[in-house]
Amino acid sequence: MARIVAVTGNEAVAEALRQTNPDVCAAYPITPATELMQRFAAFVSNGQVDTELILVESEHSAMSACIGAAAGGGRVATATSSQGLALMWEMLFIASGMRLPIIMPIVNRSLSAPINIHGDHSDAMGARDSGWIQLWSENGQEAYDNTIQAFRIAEHMDIRLPTMVCMDGFIISHSIERVEYLEDNEVRNFVGEYKTLNPLLDIDNPKSYGPLILTDLYHEYKRAQHEVMTKVRGVILNVAEEFEKISGRRYGLFEAYRLDDAEIALVILNSAAGTSKDVIDEFRERGIKAGLLKPRLFRPFPYEEIADALKHLKAICVLDRADSFGGYGPLFAEVSSALFQVRERPKMVNKIYGLGGRDFLPYHAERVLSELVDITKTNKVRIVKEYIGVRE
């Protein structure tokens, strides 16, 4: 029996961590992820988990301790945001290079300077090339569900890769929403016992982690990482299918919203997708064939599947809550790469929105959709990349 609760996003993910019961967690406070590990620390203090919690002196050490713990041979998790993820950057590549299935909820927040504690996607987008799997979540429910599924995906014997679960800082992490929790035994059965692979703690079979590999084999080592990434999509779909059986909630590589017969569409990550869906409905009521695609899996990026879902459209706006200064937004770059392989391509524009927690309101989605309607009429793109919601 599912339990229906009213909780913040942080609370929901902390509950997912309680139910998955990692062997070791490392924590270091950073807004807005602080509350998540705070709640988890209470579970530890009250004996509601078996976890050994390491309260480290920096995020760099948090990820380093997670790497040591995961190499030791057990289930490991941590969480962070923004500068914390930026400080971990070096260690992210080492976690994935060592194929350690560490789970890390990311409560998305902007990057300094200027310092800003509010939500945008600059942190996780900065880590997109780090070899981690990235799952993105629209709301508390998705963040909870993704966190539980992340353990199965990361720890899968064909995968063994660290995984981030992203949700928007404050907008989701600190808002109270309706969330359906699974029963503890359902979650524990679903994630199962942790399976070790070359654990350091197997003292009778000593293993060396972290060798020097130069021109002889480094290239092959990296190709192996590329190859394992190609297997992730299949595992994610299998795990989602099993998850649907216990939860009734269906997940894919992305969510397609009223997209099948659409002519124009928005591509947008996380919480702003919720706001946008309401506006899509309004446009539909006015007889305009609008739709939306919300990626769930950003790394590895499902190029072919997303191209298939979008290729029939006339015009697309990809909305990015992060900028790649001097380049297009990171999501736009991926979606256009996906569509480049298609013969007949939709017209495409890129809007940068919501940096540092700037509100994304229905009216912003409306303006963008109206622009897409114009593009379908004139077949002309005024400007490819543009900031919206800017105070002039």
């Binding site: 050994e52 920096s58 040591g68 030791g72 070096e90 003292i203 060396s208």
Partner: protein, 311 residues
């Protein structure tokens, strides 16, 4: 059954750090590792920060380590081994591991005094059951002999070259052993490969104590010290006999000098065989040798006072 700390007995033990590693001949680091691994009566899991020892001991599909070993990055050996040790506690609690395992790091001075100090300090404060060993060769030898905060005053390195205006490193070295003792951890010690029995006794003691322990072991580097390849033991003995590198321990706050040279030699004896100090023997740089001697005398006096007060 404990193996006695006698050469005859120790020579029968398996070498857990094998031949075939690619450290330079005459390097102190593998001697440190072998002595520590030989001294331990427990199974060990080891960790190294990025550095000479790390890049030379595990290359592609070859490893010199017969104990489980992990290297993750430069500045984080303290946190990395803390993670392994924490997983060990988690597994022990669940009954998935039953052996008594000890955790040890082998890190250079760059990875310890400088970039890794925060990670080390954090691990010590949190009380992990681990022994952090710094093999101190007094510079970033792996990247080509750059100055670190362990480099002694006046020493020439590639980033503190002895020039016409600046006579090598212009700052004194950081007294890391004291900084670690100030963490009020159960055991801190300084050792030297020239006094192997002293070193191994300290390692044994460290492993017998629960909680965080730190050992600083002088590790000559003939490439960086500009000395002969067969001088490592001689130089580390001179370092002790001149009191440049006093052998002592701080156990639960009590300082004890573990070796007093019969005759305290002048620092010049330690400096002379090393090319990195050659320029100090020019008349205009005499003041540096004087200063080095004064610093050594002051610290030696302080140590003696501290140990006599607590004796």
């Amino acid at each position: 059954m404990a193996v006695e700390l006698r050469l005859k007995e120790l020579s029968k033990k398996e070498d857990l750090f094998t031949h075939g590693h690619r450290l330079c001949s005459g390097c102190g680091a593998p001697i440190v590792v072998k002595m520590v691994l030989l001294a331990s009566e427990y199974p060990l899991i080891a960790c190294s920060s990025t550095g000479c020892l790390e890049v030379s001991s595990c290359i592609s599909q070859y490893t010199a380590w017969k104990v489980p070993w992990i290297h993750s990055a430069f500045e984080n050996a303290g946190a990395t081994i803390a993670g392994v040790e924490t997983m060990y506690r988690a597994m022990k609690k669940k009954g998935k591991v039953d052996k008594e395992i000890k955790f040890v790091t082998f890190c250079g001075d760059g990875g310890t005094y400088d970039i890794g100090l925060q990670s080390l300090s954090g691990a010590m404060e949190r009380g992990h059951d681990m022994l952090y060993i710094c093999y101190d060769n007094g510079a970033y030898m792996n990247t080509g002999i750059q100055r670190s905060s362990a480099t002694p005053l006046g020493a020439e390195t590639t980033t503190s070259p002895a020039g016409k205006v600046i006579p090598g490193k212009t700052q004194e070295r950081k007294n890391l052993t004291r900084i670690m003792a100030a963490h009020d951890i159960p055991y801190v010690a300084q050792a030297s490969i020239s006094y192997w029995l002293d070193l191994m006794k300290k390692v044994r003691k460290a492993f017998s104590i629960k909680g965080p322990k730190f050992m600083n072991i002088l590790s000559p580097c003939n490439r960086g010290w500009r000395s002969r390849t067969d001088d490592a033991i001689m130089l580390s003995r001179l370092a002790v006999d001149t009191c440049y590198w006093p052998l002592y321990e701080v156990e639960n706050g009590v300082t004890r000098i573990t070796f007093k040279p019969k005759e305290k030699m002048p620092i010049v004896d330690f400096l002379k065989p090393q090319g990195r100090f050659r320029h100090l023997f020019s008349p205009e740089n005499e003041w540096i040798i004087k200063k080095l001697q004064e610093d050594i005398d002051r610290e030696w006096k302080r140590l003696q006072k501290e140990s006599s007060l607590q004796a």
